[in-house]
Amino acid sequence: MSDSLISLLTALGDDELILGHRHSEWTGFAPHIEEDVAFSSIAQDEIGHAAGYFGILGTLTGDDPDHIALGRAPEDYRNAVLCERANGEWAYTLARHWLYDTADDLRLEVLESSAHEELAQLATKMRREERYHLIHADAWIKRVAHGPVEGRTRLEGGLSRAFGEAIGLFEPFEREDDAIKEGWLPTASSELRRRFIDRASASLDELGLPTEVRAGVDEAAEFVASSSGDLIASGEEPPGQGTRSTGGGGRRGVHSDDFRQLWDDMTRTYREHPGATW
């Protein structure tokens, strides 16, 4: 009964862990000191959310949450590719932060009525923190969009890079159909994806940002398995041959080169000392 729940929790927890890890890499280096402090809290929140998901997961599988977080092989992580991308510059981080937290809000909203009670309660608790994340992200995006031209141009660049891959947050996870049938996830990823595109597009229009920043998004795309087993969006070229990334693959453990380095750093201490306590 719980395989689909495990699959759901793994995807959710990995998104939070990997994005939290990336966010935390700004610590000490953010372009503004007060923002350094603020962004660190957001990173801590995301890692805390991962701990929450892995806590529930641990009760199902009997695994230690730290082992779930740090003790898996790279191909066993199910985060969306968006979350693992290197930080690049602040504009990309900001674009990703805004897209992710917008998506996460929609996701948590439906998880609040998950049939799994503990997950539903966790979603409610996390959504309170996400509310601040959204206020933070919105305030920044607005300021940059309405501010000096250099920032606006960079933001457009960041959004163009991130928006297409943000769709990968709604790539169906393994056994999603079962998870929906059981009510663990009350709303299908395809429907959440539609809501996300609508909401994010409306906000960007309101900010007067050019529609080109959404060029990477194919609203009609469906994630289907290609002959090679990689997930691609229908109507598009397979990755590598095509013009744009749908950000898919992560939910099946297919990750970018950026992930490899991250995984290597993140799991090093844990991996090198099996059985140690810290």
């Binding site: 801590q44 929140d45 805390g48 959310h49 608790k125 996390m126 309170r128 923190e129 206020i135």
Partner: protein, 104 residues
Amino acid sequence: MDVYEVFRRSGHKDPFEHCGSVIASDSEMALLMAKECFLRRREGQHLWVARRTDIHSFKDESLLEIAADKSYRFPEAYRDVVAKREKARARAREVGAAAGESNR
């Protein structure tokens, strides 16, 4: 006329604390009023007034709550260091004894 919020500080080491408010037409008069209303018994050595409309706050202060577990930011989370210290000392004795053994 504006509302001026009044803050006072008893010494250089302390932060300013809010102690009340006065209604005045400008800061000069607000200070004069506040002096006798709030510091006539040496309650402070420093006085500030600030126009209330120049003070800002979140409309929804529930934002300031800490929603999820942040216990690691508080000293209570590290209280068990005392027990850990004991454990480490015991381990040191064990390691020391083993070293003595092999040196024999």
